[in-house]
Structures are given as structure tokens and as C-alpha cells.
């Protein structure tokens, strides 16, 4: 059987890639993709822990499903906001969105 630490390593790498995407990308949709990667890393973590430590208790499974659902809701609201942004400014590059500062 594959050891638990391998899953945790994949998850950590995925999380860091997602986080790097959030910090380095300037396109709002690309940032959202980075966030989705981070959430997927969480799911890998939770499912690996669930499978290896307590497969008889469904809390981990339920958690992963809830994370997927919430991520969908979040993406829906986020994309709606980006569409409104594009209609107002014809850009989704967050460097060009700078009315509020100081």
C-alpha cells in the first residue's frame, strides 16, 4: 500500500502551486484557478487522512463533499463578479483595477 506521507506530499505540492498561482497571476480567473488548486489539495489531505486513520467514520468523506460544493458556490459568485467587472471596465486584470487605494 502507498504510504500516507506520499499523499500528504502531493497535497502539499499542489497547495504550494495553487498559492504561487494566487500570488503571481494578474488575471482574476487565473487566480481563481489557483484557489481551486488549493481547495483540491485540502481534499486530498482530508481523504488521505480519512482513509488511513479512521475509514469507519464518514466525517472525512462528508467534509470533502462539502468542500467541493462550497467551492462550486464560491466559483459561481466569483465568476459573476468578474463578468460584472468586465462589463464595467473591459478587463479582468487586477492590476488595472485600481480605483480604490491609499
Amino acid at each position: 500500500m502507498i504510504p500516507l506521507s506520499w499523499f500528504l506530499a502531493v497535497s502539499a505540492i499542489l497547495f504550494v502551486i495553487g498559492f504561487f498561482g494566487v500570488l503571481s497571476r494578474r488575471n482574476a480567473i487565473a487566480i481563481l484557478m489557483g484557489i481551486e488548486l488549493m481547495l483540491n489539495a485540502v481534499n486530498i489531505n482530508v481523504l488521505a487522512f480519512w482513509r488511513y486513520t479512521q475509514p469507519e467514520n464518514p466525517a472525512g468523506l462528508v467534509w470533502a463533499i462539502i468542500v467541493i460544493t462550497v467551492a462550486a458556490a464560491e466559483a459561481a459568485v466569483g465568476l459573476a463578479l468578474f463578468i460584472a467587472l468586465y462589463r464595467l471596465r473591459t478587463t479582468v486584470n487586477i492590476d488595472e483595477v485600481d480605483l480604490l487605494k491609499g
Partner: protein, 488 residues
């Protein structure tokens, strides 16, 4: 089972009210909807407030994931009260700016419901669901004025920060779950204390605490996770700013207190040192940036970041002795959230009134306010003095209850830095006072107030004096609420 449903009465009332508001919006004519929708919202919130007040002394878990304890009921009461003030003050503001009133009030009710669930959650899955519901509704509320560039920009920034922060927090939760093998906060505390944990993973506890603190710190707008706050507060419709900067922020502190105290007492050295540093950073940076703002709304936004640092002092002051005695730190957080919420709601209500009457919220728009609307100027003076912490106002009582535990724990460096910050803050509050009373520019004429706004301002003023003068009673309430936290 039925007896447990009664414990959820405040939540159920909010759900039903939200449904009624949406249906009423569908069937009522526009002219009727104008007063009907805020009216129904107010009645629902009031009923929910009463339902929470009656059950304040309860102390039992409901359905394993929610706690019916006085700690949760305290926050529910504060949330219901402040959202009522938001509705009263924001009625006319929103009516002039948007057609979608039903959606606005329904979202506000759902956001309040999310606060109810979050402050009562005793399971990290439930906690995450509550926080996410609050965040997602807040994004929509912030960007509610869809055609307004500033509102939209504020929402996009808030969303990007918020979604990233919640993902980071969730990763921290998943590590805690891996270490302890449970999602229940009290069970987690038990296993961490007794050492029944995954031995090979214990080193992950430190990163887990840091990641979780990032998520909470985002909600509570702690430096360095605060960048969204001034933009969101400035761009959002002002009633929404009232909501975000008071109860939404308070929720961040509620979950911080509950998770740290009831789930992670065994890791207290980690989170104590972390919050100690964050408190100093938050109050200092918030104040320094607030000093050089040209807009009162933005200045109040940074001042609200600085206040987050003061509230955090309550968490730093949490002692190992527990929360049952006065000055335990947790009661400081509760006192401060209550006092700060009614004061800041009032201050932003004045900003909304000036924005409507004078067309903006920079210092020039406040010039000579005493001549244009004496009541508004007097109210703003009271709010600013309370924010500065002058007795006998609420802000003083609040500061007293966060300084005391910190000094009792002998964190003198933090206490001195906080004191200096309190003085600096008084400086920029007085700048507004100077403009209102002593600057003789008067291009805009008188400002008239709507009935709802007047009631909201009076409610804030009465609340501020009540908390300041009957400090003993409110302190008793806060200490009782802190002591009633499940799992203490």
C-alpha cells in the same frame, strides 16, 4: 429532538423571515415593498433577538455540531441588534441606489444566519460552512451596486482575498484533522491534551495553527491579512460597510476565541505568541495609515483595522485559569465587540448620511457639519469619543476589559504599545471633530435625515451610554457568556 429545535429558534426565525422577504418582494408592488421589506426584516431580527435572549443561560450541544451556549447567544444578540441598526440606517440609502431590495434584505438575513451558525459551531466542518456562507453572502452584498465601479471593484478584491484565505484556513483544518483524527473541537482538545494523536504528524501542529490563524485573521482584518478591508469598506454600499466592519469582524474573533480556547488549549504557546505579534502589528499599522487618509470613510476603515488589534489583546490575555472569572480575556473580546459594533455602526451611519446629503465622505464634506446638521455632528462626536475610549462611553469600558487581562498576564510591552496607539488614534478622530466644528466651509447647505436614520443613530447613542454607564451589568453579561462557553 423537539426541545433541541427550540434551541435553534433564533436561526429558524431568520430562515423563515428571509423566505418571507423573497416572497413579499415577488408579490408586493414597488411602492409597498419600500417599507414592507425592511419592516419584515426588522420584525424578524427583533423576534430572533428575543429568542436568543430568552435562551441565553442554556448550555448544551445541539445535534453534535452546534452549541447552544451563552457565548454563542451573546454574539447572536449583538449580531441581531447591529443588523437592525444597519437596516434602519440603510433603508433610504439602498432604496435610492438599487431596485433589488428583496435580494438585499434576504442576503442580509442569510449573512446574519451565517454568523449565528459560525459562532455556535463546535465542529470544524460546520465552522467552515458557516464562515463560507458569511463570506459568500458578504461578497455579493459588497458588490451589490452592480453598475457602480467602486462597489464592483471592492467585491472583486474582497472575493479574491477571501477565497484564498479560506482555502489556507481549510488546509490548516485538514492538518488538525489529520493529527487528531476528529472534527469535533472538544474531542480535539481532549486528544491533544492526553497525547492520543498521530505521533508522526505532531510536528504539523505549528503550521496548522499558523494557517488557521490566517483564515481567522482575514475575517477579523488583522495586519498583514487586512489589505482587502479598506478597499471593501470604502467601495461597498455604506450599510454593507457597517455590517462588514462590525459583526462580520466580530465573528472572526468569536471563532478565534472558541477554536483556540476550546480546541487548542494544548497548543496555547503557539497561538499566544502568534496573536501577541499580530496584535502589535495590527494596531500600530492600522493607526499609522489611518493618520494620513483624506476620506473619513477610509480613515474609519483603517481605524477599524486598528481596533481589531485591540480586540486581539483580549485573546492574548486569555489565561490558563479559564474563562469563569472576570478579566479572563474572553469577556474582554465580548465587551469590545459589543461596544465597538454599536459605536462603529453609528459612525458609518453618519458617513452614509453625509454621503447622501453632501455627495461624498472626505474631510471637506464634513466641514462645518455643526451648522448644517447639529444632531449629526453631535452624534458623530459621541461616536468618535467612544472610539477613542473616553469615559463614560462604551469604548472606555471595552478598552478597560482588554487592557486588564493583558496587564494581569504581565505583558507590559503590549500594554504600553496599545496605550500609545490609543493616544495616536485620538489624534485622527479629533481631526474629524475639528472639521465638523471649527472649519467654516459651508457650500452644501443643510442635511436632512430620514426617520430610519434618526432612530438608528439614537439607538447607537443610547447603546453607547448604556454600555458605558451600566458597565457592571454588561461586564456581568460578558463574563457569564465567556464562562458559559461549551467545553470550558
Amino acid at each position: 429532538m423537539v426541545s433541541q429545535l427550540i434551541r435553534l429558534l433564533p436561526e429558524l426565525i431568520l430562515v423563515i423571515t428571509a423566505i418571507i422577504v423573497i416572497l413579499a418582494d415577488l408579490y408586493a408592488r414597488r411602492r409597498t415593498a419600500r417599507w414592507l421589506l425592511p419592516g419584515v426584516t426588522l420584525v424578524g431580527l427583533a423576534a430572533s433577538l428575543v429568542a436568543a435572549f430568552v435562551q441565553w443561560a442554556a448550555r448544551e450541544p445541539v445535534a453534535f455540531t452546534l452549541a447552544a451556549d451563552s457565548f454563542a447567544y451573546f454574539f447572536k444578540m449583538v449580531a441581531a441588534l447591529v443588523v437592525m441598526i444597519v437596516v434602519l440606517a440603510g433603508m433610504d440609502y439602498m432604496r435610492e441606489r438599487t431596485r433589488f431590495l428583496g435580494e438585499f434584505y434576504a442576503l442580509l438575513l442569510v449573512a446574519t444566519l451565517a454568523i449565528y451558525v459560525t459562532v455556535a459551531a463546535t465542529d470544524i466542518i460546520m465552522l467552515y460552512l458557516g464562515l463560507e456562507t458569511l463570506s459568500i453572502t458578504s461578497y455579493v452584498l459588497t458588490g451589490f451596486l452592480r453598475g457602480d465601479k467602486r462597489s464592483n471593484e471592492a467585491a472583486v478584491k474582497y472575493f479574491l482575498y477571501g477565497a484564498a484565505a479560506s482555502a489556507v484556513m481549510l488546509y490548516g483544518f485538514s492538518l488538525l484533522y489529520g493529527i487528531t483524527g476528529t472534527t469535533d473541537l472538544q474531542e480535539m482538545a481532549k486528544r491533544l491534551t492526553s497525547g492520543e494523536v498521530m505521533g508522526s504528524l505532531v510536528w504539523l501542529a505549528w503550521p496548522a495553527v499558523v494557517l488557521v490563524t490566517v483564515g481567522f485573521g482575514f475575517k477579523a482584518s488583522l495586519v498583514p491579512f487586512h489589505q482587502w478591508a479598506p478597499d471593501a469598506y470604502e467601495g461597498a454600499p455604506t450599510p454593507v460597510t457597517m455590517f462588514l466592519s462590525t459583526v462580520s469582524k466580530g465573528t472572526g474573533f468569536a471563532v478565534m476565541a472558541r477554536v483556540f480556547v476550546s480546541a487548542l488549549p494544548a497548543l496555547s504557546e503557539y497561538w499566544l505568541s502568534l496573536t501577541y505579534g499580530l496584535a502589535i502589528l495590527t494596531m500600530t499599522l492600522g493607526n499609522l495609515v489611518a493618520l494620513r487618509q483624506a476620506s473619513v470613510k477610509r480613515m474609519l476603515a483603517y481605524s477599524s483595522v486598528a481596533h481589531a488589534g485591540f480586540i486581539l489583546m483580549g485573546i492574548v490575555g486569555i489565561s490558563a485559569a479559564g474563562a469563569t472569572t472576570p478579566f479572563s480575556g474572553i469577556d474582554g473580546v465580548l465587551m469590545y465587540v459589543l461596544a465597538y459594533a454599536i459605536t462603529n455602526a453609528g459612525a458609518f451611519a453618519v458617513v452614509a448620511a453625509v454621503e447622501d446629503g453632501a455627495g461624498g465622505a472626505s474631510f471637506e464634506h464634513f466641514s462645518g457639519l455643526i451648522a448644517r446638521s447639529p444632531f449629526l455632528a453631535a452624534a458623530m462626536l459621541i461616536f468618535l469619543l467612544s472610539l477613542a475610549g473616553i469615559p463614560p462611553l462604551a469604548g472606555f469600558a471595552a478598552k478597560f476589559f482588554v487592557f486588564a487581562p493583558v496587564i494581569r498576564q504581565q505583558y507590559y510591552v503590549l500594554a504600553v504599545i496599545a496605550l500609545v496607539n490609543a493616544v495616536v488614534a485620538a489624534g485622527y478622530y479629533l481631526k474629524v471633530v475639528k472639521h465638523m466644528f471649527f472649519v467654516e466651509v459651508n457650500p452644501n447647505g443643510a442635511i436632512s435625515l430620514s426617520r430610519g436614520m434618526e432612530i438608528a443613530l439614537w439607538a447607537c447613542i443610547v447603546g453607547i451610554f448604556a454600555v458605558g454607564i451600566f458597565m457592571n451589568w454588561f461586564a456581568w453579561l460578558a463574563t457569564g457568556s465567556a464562562a458559559g462557553m461549551l467545553g470550558m
